[in-house]
């Protein structure tokens, strides 16, 4: 498992990306992250809901109640227009950061 503090700063991007594809609920997000990274990175639930709170407060995502499943109504989130714009910004920022870090990290292994 990769050190989570390095990924921490990019959780917003990861989660916004997953919401960009379709509306999802909490557990679906954590499942999807584990699945796509082949369990190399697992998000803690506590962290996940903290991110949801933050994104929702900044109006990057919005919540609504969906279908009923085991025990209760699922709370779904969808990405807002603001969220999409923000994600776009994060992506270009990441490209930049990646290039810079690669200048120093590449070719050493």
């Amino acid at each position: 498992m990769v050190r989570s503090d390095i990924i921490r700063g990019h959780l917003d991007s990861i989660i916004l990306r997953l919401f960009l594809e379709k509306d999802r609920y909490g557990y679906e997000i954590s499942q999807e992250i584990s699945l796509r990274t082949d369990n190399r990175f697992q998000i803690k639930e506590a962290t996940l809901y903290a991110v949801f709170q933050r994104l929702e407060k900044r109006e990057l995502i919005e919540a609504y109640y969906g279908d009923v499943s085991h025990g209760g109504k699922r709370k779904y989130y969808r990405i807002t227009t603001l969220g999409k714009a923000y994600l776009k910004e994060l992506v270009s920022e990441w490209t930049e950061v990646k290039e810079i870090i690669n200048l120093f990290m590449e070719g050493l292994e």
């Binding site: 557990y27 803690k44 639930e45 506590a46 903290a50 709170q53 499943s69 209760g72 709370k75």
Partner: protein, 132 residues
């Protein structure tokens, strides 16, 4: 499922209960239940599944911060203490100088109490500078 609910209640006990936090709590409960059901469908015993869900939940501190639970913070009194000591000691010093020159202008004895009183702002300055 009671065990799960108790655990979540325990985690939320420092968080003031209001509409927002109740919603988050319910959301977390719902999603954890879903996780437990998922794990059970994949062949885990109920107890195992609940334990796994609880262990993987992680540290609630971050969520607390987002929900705006204020950490009790100590007010920094050092600066106030320093200011007070400076004002207080200057008043006392002025007082001694006045008495000295008004009543006994020929003997300068005021330096002795002034030296003593200067320890007050000096020690407060020390406390303040150490906290910087």
């Amino acid at each position: 499922m009671m065990k799960m609910k108790n655990h979540i209640d325990e985690l939320f006990k420092d968080i003031p209960s209001n509409n927002e936090t109740e919603m988050v709590k319910q959301e977390i409960m719902q999603n954890l239940e879903e996780k437990v059901f998922y794990l059970m469908e994949h062949g885990k015993e109920e107890d195992d599944a609940i334990n796994k869900a609880i262990v993987e939940f992680g540290d609630i501190e971050e969520l607390k911060k987002e929900l705006g639970v204020k950490q009790p913070e100590k007010k920094n009194m050092a600066k106030l203490n320093l200011e007070f000591s400076i004002w207080g000691s200057s008043l006392i010093i002025v007082f001694f100088i006045f008495i000295n020159f008004y009543y006994t202008p020929d003997t300068i004895w005021a330096i002795y109490p002034i030296f003593t009183i200067l320890w007050w702002p000096l020690s407060m300055y020390f406390v303040w500078s150490r906290k910087q």
